[in-house]
Assembly symmetry: C2
Homo-oligomer: 229 residues x 2
Amino acid sequence: MAIRALVFDTFGTLVDWRSGVAREAERLIPGLDGGAFADAWRARYQPSMEAVRSGKRPFVDLDTLQAESLDGLLADLGRADAGTAVKRELVLAWHRLDAWPEVPAAMADLRKAFVLAPLSNGHVRLIVALARRNGLVFDAVLGAEFSRDYKPKPALYRDAVAALGFCADETLMVAAHSDDLAAAAGEGLSTAHVARPSENGPAGGETGPAVAVTFAARDLADLARQLGA
Amino acid sequence: MAIRALVFDTFGTLVDWRSGVAREAERLIPGLDGGAFADAWRARYQPSMEAVRSGKRPFVDLDTLQAESLDGLLADLGRADAGTAVKRELVLAWHRLDAWPEVPAAMADLRKAFVLAPLSNGHVRLIVALARRNGLVFDAVLGAEFSRDYKPKPALYRDAVAALGFCADETLMVAAHSDDLAAAAGEGLSTAHVARPSENGPAGGETGPAVAVTFAARDLADLARQLGA
């Protein structure tokens, strides 16, 4: 088996969502505990996608889901009086996240040897914003908007393999989350776990895979080394 | 109106399909008139997409359509004995096209100022192959496979505008074909015509727009200058 293409989870794997959301939230709502706010918002992330995954509603993008979650979150926090402009800026916080430090250089190395695409629940313009901010270059943008559904629905992994045109096991799903990798492996993709021990701040993050994977890496630079890139 | 994103027709606008297909055909089938072969194949291009556009068949990618057209073309030419390997390589000729000479440098300049994406009837792996071969960098790959239909169906232009997230008139459709630009303008996009007077070899090509456009350019470098990139 030779790896030909890498497809990437984005939030948590390539970019540090918690620090970025916390920073923007504290800027926009003085006195807020940004980290706790980011955690509470992220806790609504998986449930928000479920109505699309289950077919109860047609596909809507992550900005729409985040805006809906935000309304509930602000109400729970007694901050329902946050204005429309602040709420719009908070949703855009997810467009202004920084990559983990080693990511830009490792991605540049990987792109010399492999075809690269995000396979994320983020939609195209969100991914474009993150890629531009952090100097990441992809060959295509796959994932939620391409498949009009959300991970871990199997179609997203299958569509990504078909779009890039290599065999499933030549396509390497890269993620910091074992559930994402398990779903990818279920569709025959090769898998790489990247440890992100500080993804969730004080609550930690996955330091290693909880499922069988093809590669387990300390970070993306380590994965590039293991792949000979 | 400020332009924020450029979306590109690919075959004829960014890459010289006729020379590339002719070159590969002459390599693979000795004694063939490559230019005439390319013209005859291209003549089957628009009709081949019609079954998808009309809803008579589900979306299939351009490699599939080109392979089907090729069987008919070879039969007409009395070359139906061409083997499977040769036929596969001929389909891949469309993955090995060269950009028009000024395109790589102009695209690099444009990318400093604008978000760039193909809006082509080519599918993702075909676009990735052409982009890699010619050193073109896109922010996303939109078009046929993203929308699962073929231009000039209006959905492709609307989907591209929605995916990039700017207003329709901030999104500039760039093409060497007036019919493509007319369809884009019908969905509110701004339009740029790029002259490709040798697209069809001895049969010429569009030296200027046949419809009203926002910009008319001699080539992509001229368009970049007009846009201040």
